[in-house]
């Protein structure tokens, strides 16, 4: 019943916010495009034999010299930009989504426990968080990359690139969740319903998971959307710094990193089209995050 109410609230709030509607349309379009990339994209940018260097650097169709086969032009390898972007968005979203999920589970778990138990456990978790904060994401990425190279067989590395980036991004995001969860738990813990559960002798795990967690989920979800956007950007930055994904399995960030080389050379589409996609995606996600926050903030209702 709460679900139904939330739904109607959501719908109501939604209908009042054109920004949220636009954002939702944009986000849904991109997400669907990314999800169904293999069916929508004219070519498969991962299939090396499907493109040819001969077609390299063709501009979008509406420009002089555009080729109707390539809606948004081609990159320096002759790859169709449109397909690359769809697949890129797919990868970016997958990485960001996974990273966020890991960060959420890790951060919320630790934050909950830290807030609930307090004391020494709390101090330890928070100091670990400090360590994490002290390591910029690029370092975390390097470290994880190095460690995975060190302990895993060589031929797994390529498949692991994705995992490495995901874990690195997750590690640099979990602190946010942990801090927020912990702060909320501090508040929640002293509320009577938790006190009642403690008094009755319920198991701490059950108290945390069943009682406290649902009540602090709101702000966490808001952070999650905003962090989803930062995760996508972070991946792009890691690519720029040379610890990102390989260029033959491009994410949006990798595409932009490659496109940077063509900032001035006249082949503007290689940089600006993926950037535009990224901007639209990130802005849309952020706006949805704002919207969610309004939804979860009772005083705004």
């Amino acid at each position: 019943m709460l679900g139904r109410l939330m739904q109607s609230e959501a719908v109501w709030l939604f209908s009042r916010s054109p920004a949220a509607i636009l954002a939702a349309i944009a986000a849904v379009t991109i997400v669907l495009g990314a999800l169904f990339a293999p069916w929508i994209a004219p070519t498969d940018p991962y299939d090396l034999s499907s493109f040819s260097l001969i077609d390299g650097l063709l501009p979008p169709v509406w420009e002089d010299g555009g080729d109707p086969r390539f809606l948004l032009g081609t990159d320096d390898q002759g790859r169709d930009m449109f397909s690359s972007i769809l697949y890129g968005a797919r990868l970016s979203l997958a990485i960001a989504g996974m990273a966020m999920a890991i960060a959420l589970v890790l951060g919320v778990g630790l934050g909950l426990a830290a807030g609930y138990y307090g004391g020494r456990f709390d101090a330890v978790v928070m100091r670990i968080a400090d360590v994490q904060l002290a390591l910029p994401a690029i370092l975390t990425a390097l470290l994880i990359d190095g460690i995975s190279r060190g302990i895993l067989p060589r031929d797994m590395h390529d498949d692991l690139r994705l995992g490495v980036i995901t874990v690195a991004i997750a590690l640099s995001l979990w602190v946010n969740f942990a801090r927020t969860a912990r702060a909320s738990v501090f508040v929640e813990r002293n509320k009577d319903y938790v006190q009642a559960a403690i008094m009755m002798g319920q198991h701490p795990l059950r108290i945390m998971a069943r009682h406290i967690l649902p009540n602090i989920l709101g702000p966490l979800l808001v952070i999650a959307t905003v962090d989803l956007a930062s995760a996508i950007l972070l991946e792009a930055t890691l690519s720029f710094l040379g610890v990102g994904l390989p260029a033959d399995s491009p994410s949006l960030g990798t595409l932009i990193r490659i496109g940077m080389q063509y900032l001035l050379s006249g082949e503007w589409w290689i940089l600006w089209i993926p950037t535009l996609f990224l901007v639209v995606l990130v802005v849309a996600i952020n706006l949805l995050g704002d919207f969610l926050r309004d939804l979860f903030n009772p005083s705004l209702r």
């Binding site: 390299g56 320096d76 390898q77 040379g242 001035l264």
Partner: protein
């Protein structure tokens, strides 16, 4: 005495010369930079020819026992100390010491003998016709200055005085050094040679990000930068007041194979054999790659297809083997079928992504071209910092390598790339290519004085390499310098930027 219109000159490159010590690091950015401050016994002219510098002349000692250098008199170091044979011997001992990174230049040398104040003999174990040219970058320090400041040896773990200070005989002296930020040079007024430049000051700034460097040039803050990205050549040339000087470097980009690998390491299906052991497969690879298109699209027509391990024009280049296998995808497929791989196979291609110009893009293009004949390369592109390590550990099926012969002679790649690897030779022959004949020929090539006889031997080696398809040479890397219209420079194929030839109008 300077020509008219003196100017302060700002130039930029991607990397900072990490030390001012000429013997501590054998790396192009350092040697190139220090050649403006320090000088050797000989130096190279604009066309790479060897010419007198601190030695006015040199002759081979009888029986190939070594070389005698007659030193220039009246030369002083920047601090005013006089130059003589003691400085040469001291510098030799320093450069050949264990702490030095350039000691390999002196591997053939058994002893250096001071004949008189201005005559020095370098004795070699075997005849060594190329020796004078091979020490063009051997720079001479003042022995008193070095010992007086505790810099007798190149810095190894901690810095010493010579790391941040310099005292050479060259056309410029070090006026200020802020490592990684800027290095300031001023002309040496007491230089023994006639200055051709018209600079009053030259400031070097490292700018790592190519786009930033380009912006700095276009905004007029710097006068010269090298290199710039190929795709930006047009942009620079199209602007008023700027120009691009493009030439060819001495570096050949090539593909190498794991000749001594029993099996492929990174194949999805072919895990029990190494198809590259079959020369037909290697030839198929060579034929499948359309170097002309790579040159056009990725290298913007600035590169030059290569057929050998060294570029055309260097000494020892084999005119007899000037052709590289023609691009012919059908023939490549046929060869593969003949070798027993009609359906192709997959393998791992290792590739640096920050070492050579557009290296990663080239690898991906190569992979795409190979895919069209049915063999599928999994490209693993990585920063160069871990790359050599991976190659040394044999973690590849095929790899990309660029080679620039330090001595500008065909012997250099044979020694490093073609000889069967052992402790001293073939040290960059990661794939373990081995040919008894080539191993046999290396020493005679090193020692033969007679040009024609030597070339014959080199030709034979080139023939073997081509026939065996030991490597697949792709192209000679271009050299792109960009500068203001008003700047005149000389572009030497070794990519050394010599201030003594710079004029600003």
């Amino acid at each position: 005495a300077f020509p008219a219109a003196a100017e302060s000159f700002n130039w930029a490159g991607t990397t900072d010369p990490q030390t001012m010590d000429p013997h501590a690091v054998n790396a192009a950015p350092v040697l190139s930079f220090l050649n403006n401050i320090y000088e050797g016994l000989v130096r190279r002219g604009p066309d790479m020819s060897v010419e007198p510098s601190l030695a006015t002349s040199w002759v081979a000692l009888p029986d190939g026992a070594g070389w005698r250098f007659t030193l220039r008199e009246g030369v002083t170091f920047h601090d005013g100390a006089a130059f003589n044979a003691d400085d040469v011997i001291f510098s030799y001992e320093r450069a050949a010491s264990e702490a030095s990174d350039v000691r390999s230049w002196f591997a053939p040398v058994t002893e250096v003998v001071r004949v008189d104040d201005f005559t020095v003999d370098f004795l070699t174990a075997a005849p060594n016709p190329l020796f004078p040219g091979s020490i063009a970058n051997f720079m001479i320090l003042d022995s008193d200055w070095a010992t007086g400041n505790g810099a007798e040896l190149p810095a190894r773990d901690a810095e010493n005085f010579a790391t941040r200070n310099a005292n050479g005989t060259g056309p410029f002296s070090l006026a200020g050094r802020d490592p990684g930020i800027e290095t300031r040079l001023v002309p040496n007024e007491g230089w023994w040679d006639t200055a051709e430049h018209n600079l009053t000051e030259a400031v070097f700034t490292p700018i790592g990000n190519p786009a930033t460097g380009l912006a700095a040039l276009l905004s007029g803050e710097i006068d010269f930068i090298s290199p710039i990205p190929l795709q930006d050549i047009e942009q620079v040339e199209s602007r008023d007041g700027f120009k691009v000087l493009s030439g060819l470097e001495t570096r050949v980009i090539m593909l190498g194979f794991g000749h001594d690998h029993e099996t492929l390491k990174y194949s999805e299906e072919t895990t029990d054999a190494n198809p590259f052991l079959d020369a037909r497969v290697r030839l198929a690879v060579a034929q499948a790659i359309d170097v002309a298109t790579i040159d056009r699209v990725i290298m913007r027509d600035a590169a030059e297809p290569a057929s050998q391990l060294l570029p055309e024009g260097l000494s020892g280049w084999s005119a007899a083997h000037a052709e590289r296998p023609a691009f012919d995808a059908e023939a490549a497929k046929a060869l593969l079928a003949e070798a027993g791989y009609p359906d192709g196979f997959s393998f791992g291609l290792m590739c640096p992504n920050d070492r050579y110009i557009n290296d990663e893009a080239v690898c991906r293009a190569v992979a795409s071209m190979l895919a069209r004949v049915g063999i599928e390369a999994n490209v693993n592109a990585m920063p160069v910092r871990g790359y050599w390590d991976e190659l040394r550990s044999d973690n590849f099926d095929m790899y990309l390598l660029g080679w620039s012969p330090g001595t500008f002679d065909a012997e250099h790649p044979i020694r490093f790339l073609a000889h069967t690897p052992n402790e001293r030779l073939g040290t960059w022959n990661f794939g373990g290519f081995s040919s008894a004949r080539i191993d046999e020929l290396l020493e005679p090539i090193q020692q033969e004085i007679d040009e024609a006889a030597r070339q014959a031997m080199i030709d034979e080696v080139a023939g073997i390499l081509q026939e065996e398809v030991a490597y697949v040479p792709l192209y000679t890397e271009p050299l792109i310098w960009a500068m203001k219209e008003s700047v005149e420079v000389v572009q030497r194929p070794d990519n050394f930027f010599m201030l003594r030839w710079v004029t600003v109008n």
